[in-house]
């Protein structure tokens, strides 16, 4: 490789055979170009879709209960599991360092809400102040329920925008007005909006302490919702949330005497787990692009091999002459291989640089919903370079080997 004389010989051959070199180079350069652009677009799609995803998705975990499916410690299956305040309090205390937002939820069924002559049936729930952030709700007017409301069992409600429109029409400022829920007066302290739209805005929240007391819920809760403290990256966040939900499940199974392998009594809806499926899909897309890219490379290698075979065929007589003048077989292999590696490497770099330039300058311009910042990272570029040098070697080797084995007398007879 570092034989200067050989380099001179290669350069001379290349200089004197520009068309041949150009054709070989073109197939490699275009192969690499297509590969890198494809990978860039794949990466862009990944970026675009995951950004889209981040905007909507919270890393929220919902805990809800069902009926047992297995007999355990003398208890029959089919038992309905009811979570209590103690479950929530125990959890928040135990994981206070890990939790970001937390709330339990008490659901009031058949929540008929009246204001004057207007009335409607809405989802009415008792929640903690954190619930605003768990639901990603924004306040349009007033405020959300707070800890003071909670501690003092205040009869206050926060209504969704839809509820406000239904009950108050457009005319009145709802803040400070009283609505009746199952005949009990509640003061409206806020109106919220929700990215989930009308369905989510047809809800009414009150402090959970009030809800439990007024609606006879004693210390029952329907759900618990948590988010964990943010982690540095998605994988870590997913691992943490899986660990947490596993721990909660086990804890609840223990306190409620549920068989450890009973999967139906306690369920946790882990939105990160859902996100993972999504990211798995993204990985599939990535693999697909790699697959296509590698096929492109293989096609390129086959193409280059063919060209090299033709070149060697064309040079058969020259190889015969060189052998007659004293070229050893190894030096013929070296010559052909050296030239093909050199040409593929240079052409590959040209393709690489061209594609990187394209991604660099044209990439930022294509900001569609699903493609964002198409780019190829350094490792991928390195891998590509490695692949192409290897490709050059493979593409050159077989023809070179064939060339070296031709007997000089046969080669010289070649027309």
């Amino acid at each position: 490789m570092f034989d200067l004389e050989r380099w001179e010989e290669i350069f001379e051959t290349i200089r004197k055979n520009k068309l041949r070199t150009f054709l070989t180079g073109l197939s490699v350069a275009s192969g690499i170009f297509i590969l890198v652009v494809l990978l860039g677009i794949g990466e862009g799609m990944r970026n675009g879709i995951s950004q889209e995803f981040k905007r909507d998705a919270a890393n929220i975990m919902y805990v809800y209960t069902g009926v047992t499916s297995k007999e355990y410690k003398g208890l029959n299956p089919g038992r309905r599991i009811q979570m209590k305040n103690e479950d929530f309090n125990y959890t928040t205390l135990k994981y206070q360092d890990d939790l970001e937002y937390k709330s339990s939820i008490y659901r009031i069924w058949n929540g008929i809400v009246n204001y004057g002559k207007e009335s409607g049936s809405y989802r009415v729930e008792g929640v903690y102040p954190d619930y605003q952030f768990l639901e990603n709700s924004g306040m349009i007017e007033g405020r959300f329920v707070n800890y003071k409301d909670h501690e003092n069992f205040e009869k206050v409600v926060v209504v969704g925008n839809k509820v406000r429109n239904d009950l108050f029409k457009d005319s009145k400022d709802p803040i400070g007005e009283y609505v009746q829920i199952s005949g009990v007066n509640f003061k409206v302290v806020g109106v919220f909006t929700d990215p989930g739209g009308e369905r989510e805005e047809s809800r009414v929240f009150m402090p959970i302490s009030t809800a439990q007391r007024v609606f006879g819920g004693s210390n029952n809760i329907a759900n618990m919702a948590f988010t964990l403290e943010p982690e540095d990256n998605f994988e870590a966040a997913l691992a943490a949330s899986n660990r947490f939900s596993e721990a909660i499940k086990n804890q609840l199974k223990e306190t409620h005497t549920i068989a450890p392998d009973d999967e139906s009594a306690i369920s946790i809806n882990n939105s990160l787990e859902n996100a993972k499926r999504f990211f798995d899909l993204m990985d599939m897309i990535k693999f697909f692009f790699w697959g296509v890219g590698i096929c492109t490379i293989i096609a390129g290698v086959v193409g280059v091999s063919n060209i090299m075979l033709i070149i060697v065929k064309e040079r058969t007589r020259e190889i015969g002459i060189r052998k007659a003048l004293g070229a050893e077989p190894l030096s013929i292999v070296g010559m052909v291989l050296h030239e093909s590696i050199f040409v593929t490497a240079i052409a590959g770099f040209i393709g690489l640089i061209a594609s990187l330039l394209l991604l660099e300058f044209v990439g930022p311009l294509i900001e569609t919903q699903y493609i964002s910042n198409p780019a190829v990272n350094f490792n991928v570029a390195l891998t590509t370079v490695f692949i192409l040098v290897l490709a050059g070697a493979i593409a050159g080797f077989f023809p070179a080997w064939r060339a070296a084995r031709i007997k000089p007398i046969v080669a010289l007879r070649d027309e």
Binding site: K16, R322, K323, L325, G326, A327, P329, A404, K407
Partner: protein, 233 residues
């Protein structure tokens, strides 16, 4: 210099085999200028290719400058060719994309001579064949006689023990042929051993010894009075 004993060679073509050389015994001393004569198909080129290690004999022994040539692999054969032999072909066999100078320098490349020295040496051989002014020309810019001179310069470049020429004048008109033979004679005058294959009696007459080949056997081997090519020009 060259010593061959009971050399046999046949070509296999499918199930048939063509016995081309049927026991050749032959030796050449240093400084000889020998022509191998015979009609077309008599096995002249086959013999020369075996002497040139471009092909292998089936049977018999071959000694070149005291070295037994047998069981050669490609690598050693290449080394011996480079060290001992210079080839001159009927069809010149110059490399088309290399200029005259680089063609002449090529055997030196395979000898491992550095570029500067290679170019100097090649240039001196081009001067010797009278083509110094044509050093930068590609083969297709040269006449047949000039091409053969370049080929001769190239054959000389590695300073071989023996020059092997297969019909060196076969593609040339008679005047150019005599020029080339004149050059070959001059090179022989300097003491170099040369074998020339030809089927033209006037060319053979310009060597010092004529070996006549017929049906794979030597039927005649005579020393002759050399006709100087110079007189015919």
């Amino acid at each position: 210099m060259i010593e061959i004993k009971d050399l046999h060679k046949s070509y296999k073509m499918g199930s048939n085999s063509l016995h081309v050389l049927k026991g050749i015994n032959f030796s050449v001393a240093e400084g000889e200028l020998v022509s191998i004569m015979g009609s077309s198909g008599s096995g002249k080129s086959t013999l020369l290719n075996i002497l040139g290690m471009l092909d292998e004999a089936d049977e018999g022994s071959y000694t070149l400058d005291g070295v037994a040539i047998k069981n050669l692999n490609e690598k050693i054969a290449a080394r011996y060719r480079n060290k001992f032999l210079g080839f001159i072909f009927q069809s010149f066999n110059l490399i088309s994309y290399k200029n005259a100078l680089d063609n002449v320098a090529l055997p030196l490349y395979y000898q491992g001579v550095k570029r500067g020295e290679r170019i100097d040496k090649a240039m001196s051989y081009l001067e010797k064949v009278g083509l110094a002014d044509w050093a930068g020309h590609l083969p297709n810019e040269l006449s047949g006689g000039q091409k053969q001179r370049v080929a001769i310069a190239r054959a000389l470049a590695s300073d071989p023990k023996v020059l092997l020429a297969d019909e060196p004048t076969g593609a040339l008109d008679s005047k150019t042929s005599y020029d080339v033979m004149n050059l070959i004679q001059e090179i022989n005058d300097e003491g170099r051993t040369i074998l020339v294959v030809t089927h033209e009696p006037d060319i053979a007459a310009m060597t010092k010894r004529i070996v006549n080949l017929k049906d794979g056997r030597i039927i005649q081997d005579t020393q002759v009075n050399q006709v100087r090519a110079q007189q015919n020009v």
